[in-house]
């Protein structure tokens, strides 16, 4: 590519109207060009882009976009730092997934779910201590951890996970040595996410159910696959679970693998 080509194609490069190969050739040629030629080309690029600035519509972005954007960037940075992939595929998602909300970026949504699953995987679930959960004295809490969540995952993650209206139900095995841990995060409108890790393989899957004081199933809330190292299960239309005892049982069995430690 000649110097003339570089200068001639600079407006098309600025608007990304070159095809992929031409675009790559232009970039490589620009990098190789002498400094004073680079300056000329960048001058054309600058003038081209400055020209379109005057044609932009006079619209205002929503204020809520700021925390969402900063949260997404923070999640991307956190994901890179902990080596977690930023896609939903990183965390096997079982069961019905809620339809995406247009106001939340899909990348952010995937990152948030991935980070939440990662948190359970690490065995650390920061639970907001509120009056109704005062009995949760066995849950690990610390200011340091909450600050780490905020730093790594951003305000948007914090507002989602630590909203005052969000309820948390912690599950534990009767036998401390038994595998499997889970937490149910219940948001507004009865929609919830069940985060599980290390459930043993079970071909028939698992049930999230309301059980009575004897451990008998009263009502099945959701059925999902198990056997993954970790899983995030979306559950919609939950009834009011105040005072209810919940359990996770293998389908076809009546003995709970995990039971709620709070209600």
């Amino acid at each position: 590519m000649t110097i003339k080509d570089l200068i001639d194609l600079a407006p098309a490069y600025a608007l990304k109207t070159l095809d992929e190969r031409q675009d790559a050739d232009f970039t490589a040629a620009l990098d190789r060009a002498p400094r004073h030629i680079q300056a000329l080309v960048w001058d054309v690029i600058t003038r081209t882009l400055a020209g379109i600035e005057g044609t932009l519509p006079a619209v205002q972005r929503a204020l809520a976009l700021r925390p969402r954007t900063l949260g997404l960037v923070a999640a991307a940075i956190a994901g890179e730092k902990i080596g977690e992939p930023q896609t939903a595929g990183a965390s096997p998602i079982v069961g019905r997934i809620q339809p995406p909300r247009r106001t939340v970026n899909p990348l952010w949504r995937a990152a948030a779910i991935g980070c939440a699953a990662a948190a359970v995987l690490m065995g650390v679930v920061w639970v907001q201590m509120r009056q109704e959960y005062a009995a949760l004295d066995n849950v690990f809490t610390s200011n340091m951890l909450s600050e780490k969540f905020q730093r790594d995952f951003g305000d948007a993650f914090e507002s989602r996970l630590f909203s005052a209206s969000t309820k948390f139900v912690q599950f534990a095995a009767g036998d401390a040595a038994a595998p499997g841990k889970a937490v149910l995060i219940i948001g507004e409108g009865g929609s919830a996410q069940l985060l599980c890790r290390d459930l043993p393989k079970n071909a028939a899957g698992y049930q999230l159910a309301v059980v009575d004081s004897q451990g008998r199933v009263e009502r099945v809330l959701s059925t999902f696959r198990g056997g993954e190292q970790r899983a995030v299960v979306s559950v919609d239309g939950l009834p009011d679970l105040a005072g209810a005892r919940l359990a996770i049982l293998p389908v076809g069995e009546d003995k709970a693998l995990l039971t709620s430690t709070n209600a």
Binding site: L65, R68, L72, V73
Partner: protein, 190 residues
């Protein structure tokens, strides 16, 4: 066109902070450029929701590319606009692979359903300023700049579709951009 040495130092420090993932630097970058990025996205994408999605992803891309920013080449605003434009065109092209593009220079002959009428009103709002300028261009320049700028088509694609040599398309785009800039200057002068 590079910024003054003082501004270069400020912009370099800012982008170094962004590259490190410094939250305060990223907030400053957002506060300085989010309006520009949003307006660019809103102009070419189908809806405000799409524009908001794009803003979020552009800022992730700005973080990822921050380490490559060289203030001696271009001002930070140029860099941000370049990254934004490239992201938007990628997105337009991905969408076009699934959907027929809304080609602005085509006449709509079928009555549009209500939601499409609303969408076209929204489109008019977005394109009002730009189209008033584009309408003053000669026919070929108008077609090329519309397809290249608003639809994200490559010059080669436009040339093939219009059965016109690539050089002619390239010149039409360059001349159109110059005329748009001149129109802008005239508008400011009056």
């Amino acid at each position: 066109m590079a910024a003054s040495p003082e501004n270069q130092a400020v912009d370099m420090a800012l982008m170094q902070g962004v590259a490190r993932g410094d939250a305060e630097a990223i907030q400053r970058l957002y506060d300085r450029f989010s309006s520009l990025v949003y307006r660019m996205a809103y102009q070419v994408l189908p809806s405000r929701d799409d524009a908001e999605d794009a803003v979020q992803e552009v800022f992730v891309r700005l973080w990822r590319t921050a380490g490559r920013y060289d203030p001696s080449r271009a001002a930070l605003v140029t860099w941000v606009m370049l990254i934004t434009r490239r992201f938007l065109v990628d997105r337009l092209r991905r969408a076009r692979s699934a959907l027929k593009p809304a080609v602005l220079d085509e006449k709509i002959t079928v009555p549009a359903p209500e939601h499409e009428v609303i969408a076209s009103q929204d489109k008019r709002e977005r394109f009002k300023g730009l189209m008033s300028k584009i309408d003053r261009l000669p026919a070929l320049q108008k077609t090329v700049v519309t397809r290249a700028y608003l639809n994200g088509q490559t010059l080669r694609q436009i040339g093939e579709e219009l059965n016109t040599p690539l050089g002619t398309i390239k010149s039409a785009l360059s001349r159109a951009l110059v005329r748009l800039r001149e129109t802008e200057t005239e508008g400011m002068a009056t």
